[in-house]
């Protein structure tokens, strides 16, 4: 695969979160604020932006900002939308359609609930298979489909609740090193198992948070990236695949389309799992992260449970995973994929303070959208890897 290797680089990132889980702003104003931070980070201005990505309306965003982009992308694949945006942006930049692309996300479910604002529900529309064939059975979203994946994984491979809990424990240990994380206090496997059972076999502490949050990235060509404020973080590989939209159509509940998105991204980058210094793997639930470890090839199918048991993904482990504290302990405003990219970039630039890894060169941001439906894998690297 010739692909996009090294053609584009992320040159600016920003995210807004709070240990309270609540932010002051919301909506477009919050999006604009975090875009400004990401542009400042890159040493660019709004006038430089000629491409916009937004998971709901890139046109609405561009209008609000008063810009006239030549590349526009409103792709929504749920939580993996921003990895897909990065893939599309890199392709557009490589093809010469535009030079500076911004993608942004802001969502404030927690303060909206506090303020009594009506919960934004997805438009179910008509002729929606979810409504016809799943919701009548009281399927609790998004938890239940992931719970069914966990049940199946346990039945096929003997994975245990303790092994899933270890992922929450290891991720919380990372959050302990991040003063911006929502929850920082160390937890044990017993704490996870003692937390309320939501959808069996998933306990409350197997589930991601509900917080406010906002984030943005700025991408440009490799040539321009080298003239800017921060060290470029190159897109070395990208891949996306979806194999269902509703859970009853997922071909195999223990294998996600990350098998394909990951293999394609790694092949484009010319790397193998052993080259990866940091995995930012979307942890909507503990089972989600476990499936990523298997499907991206860090361990064999079915061996995710034993793989995480000794704290391999925790601080000091051989495969650092979700060093910001993840969706489980850092932030999760609904579509968390943006924060995977922001953390990967900050780690590769060495900006992560107490939780900073030692000279990482290759990071993977692996987004998961809807109900294990759309996986999108980004391989990011420093100048040395280009």
């Amino acid at each position: 695969m010739a692909g996009l290797r090294g053609a584009a680089a992320i040159v600016g990132v920003a995210d807004e979160v709070s240990p309270t889980g609540e932010l002051g702003g919301s909506g477009r104003a919050l999006e604009a604020a975090v875009i400004k931070q990401a542009l400042d980070d890159a040493g660019l201005t709004l006038a430089d932006v000629d491409g916009v990505c937004h998971s709901a309306s890139s046109m609405g965003l561009a209008e609000y900002l008063g810009i006239h982009p030549t590349f526009t992308d409103s792709t929504n694949t749920g939580g993996s939308s921003f990895e897909v945006h990065a893939e599309h942006a890199a392709a557009a930049i490589a093809a010469g359609l535009c030079e500076v692309v911004v993608s942004v996300y802001a969502s404030t479910p927690r303060s909206d609930r506090r303020d009594g604002k009506p919960r934004r529900r997805p438009d179910l529309g008509v002729n929606n298979p979810l409504v016809d064939w799943e919701l009548p059975y009281g399927l609790r979203l998004p938890m239940a489909p992931y719970a069914m994946a966990a049940t199946r994984h346990m039945a096929e491979f003997g994975t245990t609740s303790e092994q899933l809990a270890q992922i929450a424990v290891s991720t919380r240990a990372w959050a302990g090193l991040n003063e911006r994380a929502r929850y920082r206090q160390a937890i044990t496997i017993d704490d996870v198992l003692a937390s309320p059972m939501e959808c069996s076999p998933l306990h409350l502490l197997d589930c991601c948070l509900v917080t406010d949050g906002a984030g943005a990235f700025v991408m440009t060509s490799a040539a321009r990236a080298r003239t800017l404020a921060k060290p470029p973080v190159y897109v070395l590989g990208a891949g996306t695949c979806h194999d269902h939209s509703i859970i009853s159509q997922m071909p195999d509940l223990t294998t996600t389309p990350g098998v394909i998105s990951g293999a394609n991204a790694f092949a484009m980058a010319g790397i193998t799992p052993s080259d990866v210094d940091l995995l930012m793997g979307y942890d909507s639930f503990t089972i989600t992260a476990l499936l990523h470890l298997e499907d991206l090839g860090f361990c064999a199918k079915g061996e995710g449970g034993p793989f995480v048991e000794d704290g391999k993904t925790a601080p000091g482990g051989s495969l650092p995973m979700n060093t910001n504290g993840g969706g489980l302990s850092y932030t999760h405003p609904g579509m968390y994929g943006m924060f995977l990219i922001v953390e990967a970039v900050k780690q590769l630039r060495g900006e992560c303070g107490e939780r900073q890894l030692e000279s990482p060169e290759i990071a993977v941001a692996h987004g998961s959208g809807i109900v294990l439906s759309c996986m999108s894998t980004l391989v990011l690297g420093t100048e040395a890897t280009r």
Partner: protein, 147 residues
């Protein structure tokens, strides 16, 4: 196949009838489970739709299903979403693989929650909807040696 509504069946949101699924729902009026088969592929598929998801063929025949299968996976919902289930008590949502090879969602009824297992043989049972249709649910298969 039984037609009585098990006592532990929760109240629920009733499904609409989307294009392509009319014969499925019509058969449920008589508590018959039928599946769409693509005449070109000679394979069943689910959920019902106007075209075959394997070949885009539009010649579709509706054939009776055995109504038996096994639990592919499940979850016990301990905190029901209020809009869908008003009884507010835990229930099982499962994916069932029918003998024909297609997978569909259903509640498991007539079985203690903690006895539900992956691989458990089940057969279809029916819950009456308000418009004369029935919703397929599943219960543990009684004559296990009927396999």
């Amino acid at each position: 196949m039984s037609t009585k509504v098990p006592a532990d069946t929760p109240l629920r949101m009733e499904p609409p009838i989307s294009p392509g699924a009319e014969p499925f729902w019509e058969a449920t009026r008589e508590c018959r489970l039928v599946l769409p088969w693509c005449l070109a592929c000679e394979r069943p598929f689910f959920y019902p739709r106007e075209v075959c998801p394997l070949c885009l063929g539009t010649a579709i025949a509706w054939r009776p299903a055995t109504g038996t299968g096994v639990v592919y996976s499940f979850t016990i919902e301990n905190r029901p979403p209020p809009a869908a289930f008003s009884m507010g008590k835990p229930y099982v949502v499962a994916l069932v693989e029918l003998d024909e090879g297609v997978r569909l969602m259903g509640n498991i009824v007539g079985c203690p929650l903690e006895k539900t297992e992956v691989g458990m043989p089940v057969s279809v049972t029916w819950e009456a909807l308000s418009d004369g249709r029935h919703l397929p649910l599943f219960e543990p298969r009684r004559e296990e040696n009927a396999l």
